[in-house]
């Protein structure tokens, strides 16, 4: 009769147990950052594979997003005779919202899924067990450098995305639609605030770097070590990352506008 009650109880206990394990692993991984100090090479190698390899897709996407912003912004602003402000619209949209969010979504699809599959396959082929038996802690050796590389790479990728986007907006707005070039830049300079806009964007990008990379690393480390398990965990990685990024974006924006 109280079956459903027991069921809810059991699944909440399961949930919190899993959540607790995940948090413990997260803390252990962060503590593992210390073991990387004498070995920066490990981080650099990972920054190459998560950061540099995501660069092309980020740059191309940033350019297109900037061009679309230029078009849409111009069409709206021209009705009010305010097309001089196009630079501000493009820059603020990118720096505050689209830069961090779109970059994080692309990163989750490009780098997150690859990270997850790599770690999941290392688990499936007993490489993680092998490391443990060689007295090498996989949390320090595998998880920590990847997480740290992701956290460092994300703000850099976001910066590139936004910068390229500003040029995309310039190309459409100034070169194609005839907005004054001087106004595009000077209005942007005058209206984009360092503390309110740039810093907030950087904070967001760090937060997204942590959650997307962590989800990928955790899903890989805890997946069921079979081909099916790895494939499911890959899907979960992308879906969870996307949802978390969008939800977190709302939360952070609400806090920042406060």
């Amino acid at each position: 009769m109280f079956d459903w009650f027991a069921k809810i109880g059991r699944s909440s206990i399961d949930f919190f147990a899993r959540f607790g394990r995940e948090m413990i692993l997260f803390i252990q991984t962060v503590i593992g950052f210390a073991s990387l100090i004498p070995r920066p090479g490990l981080i650099i190698a990972q920054m190459y594979s998560v950061g540099v390899r995501s660069m092309l897709i980020i740059l191309v996407s940033g350019f297109f997003v900037g061009m679309v912003l230029g078009l849409q912004g111009y069409n709206t602003l021209v009705d009010f005779g305010a097309e001089e402000s196009l630079g501000v619209v493009v820059a603020l949209s990118l720096v505050r919202e689209l830069g961090p969010v779109v970059t994080a979504l692309l990163y989750a699809g490009r780098a997150g899924s690859a990270l997850m599959a790599e770690i999941g396959l290392m688990k499936a082929t007993e490489q993680l067990s092998g490391l443990e038996m060689m007295a090498v802690n996989p949390v320090n050796r595998i998880l920590a450098p990847r997480l740290l590389a992701g956290i460092i790479s994300m703000p850099l990728l976001v910066a590139m995305f936004s910068a390229v986007g500003v040029f995309g907006g310039y190309l459409v707005g100034v070169d194609m639609l005839g907005v004054d070039s001087g106004a595009y830049w000077s209005q942007m300079q005058a209206k984009v605030d360092y503390n309110d806009d740039i810093v907030n964007g950087v904070i967001k990008s760090f937060a997204f770097g942590i959650v997307t990379t962590w989800i990928a690393v955790y899903e890989g480390y805890s997946c069921i070590p079979t081909s099916e398990g790895v494939s499911r965990a890959t899907t979960r990685t992308v879906v969870y990352s996307a949802l978390t990024v969008l939800g977190l974006d709302f939360l952070l924006t609400a806090l920042m506008l406060d």
């Binding site: 007993e126 067990s129 092998g130 443990e132 038996m133 060689m134 802690n137």
Partner: protein, 268 residues
């Protein structure tokens, strides 16, 4: 050489279950230092699991596993990693790191745990590779190795740090008769020359019995027989006989637990 009383590993009252399936129900095993101990048993009885328990990768629900007098399941992580430096383990699948060459795989534990200069590491790696006959294959990636070669490369890696004890999970499977002979020779000579303690899990009864000092046979969660290879060979226990002589009929079932065959076929 340590005498028979000096057991490097002492397992007492070991109980281990995965979910509802009981894998060990009260296992006692002594692994004497400096000797070769073989652990045999039908597929799926938990031999690999036993090695993982000894390596501290999983914890038993009950019972103790003493290594040098210290209980592995109750060790703290840091201590456990110290102890593992004294153990080498050869995985059934090899478990080579797939993103580095054979050479780097074998150099890996040396680079992680020693401050040796690269020239010295190079010499050590080449010596280990020579021992397993893969000196010429050092530039290959793990994906370019055959199963047998991968196993041998993994063996070279397991002995890289000169451990006190090596756990071999099926070292002979997938080896041709020549490399099998070489491996048997290698295990024996490491054991004699370096006083290494070896634990071999294997189905290859003949080869294993030929080099083992002590044999354990486990089946259905229990030790069903142990002794020197001679004693095992002469034993009249039906469990041992069936396994050692490979008879299909006997107390050890070939089939995984199931409903009767006929019932299953007729079931709709």
């Amino acid at each position: 050489m340590p005498d028979n009383e000096d057991n490097l590993v002492k397992i007492r009252g070991l109980h281990f279950a995965r979910g509802s399936s009981k894998i060990f129900t009260g296992v006692d095993i002594d692994i004497p230092g400096g000797k070769i101990t073989a652990i045999m048993g039908p597929s799926g009885t938990g031999k690999t699991t036993l090695l993982k328990l000894i390596g501290g990768q999983i914890k038993p629900q009950q019972g103790t596993i003493h290594f040098h007098g210290e209980n592995i399941p109750s060790m703290r992580t840091r201590k456990l990693y110290e102890v593992r430096k004294k153990m080498g383990m050869l995985f059934q699948s090899g478990a080579l790191l797939t993103d580095m060459s054979v050479y780097d795989n074998i150099a890996f534990p040396l680079r992680e745990h020693t401050q040796l200069p690269e020239v010295m590491i190079r010499d050590l790696v080449i010596m280990k590779l020579q021992a397993v006959g893969l000196r010429g294959a050092r530039h290959l990636m793990p994906s370019e190795l055959s199963g047998g070669m991968a196993r041998r490369a993994a063996l070279a890696r397991a002995i890289a740090l000169d451990p006190e004890m090596i756990l071999y999970d099926e070292p002979f499977t997938g080896q041709d008769p020549i490399s099998m002979g070489v491996l048997v020779q290698l295990i024996r000579s490491m054991n004699k020359a370096l006083g290494l303690t070896s634990v071999i899990v294997s189905h290859d009864i003949e080869e294993t019995m030929a080099i083992a000092d002590k044999v354990y046979i486990i089946s259905q969660g229990k030790v069903v027989g142990h002794g020197s290879p001679d004693e095992i060979d002469k034993s009249d226990s039906p469990w041992i006989n069936q396994f050692v002589h490979g008879e299909a009929d006997g107390p050890v079932p070939f089939h995984y637990q199931a409903v009767p065959y006929k019932e299953d076929l007729l079931a709709q």
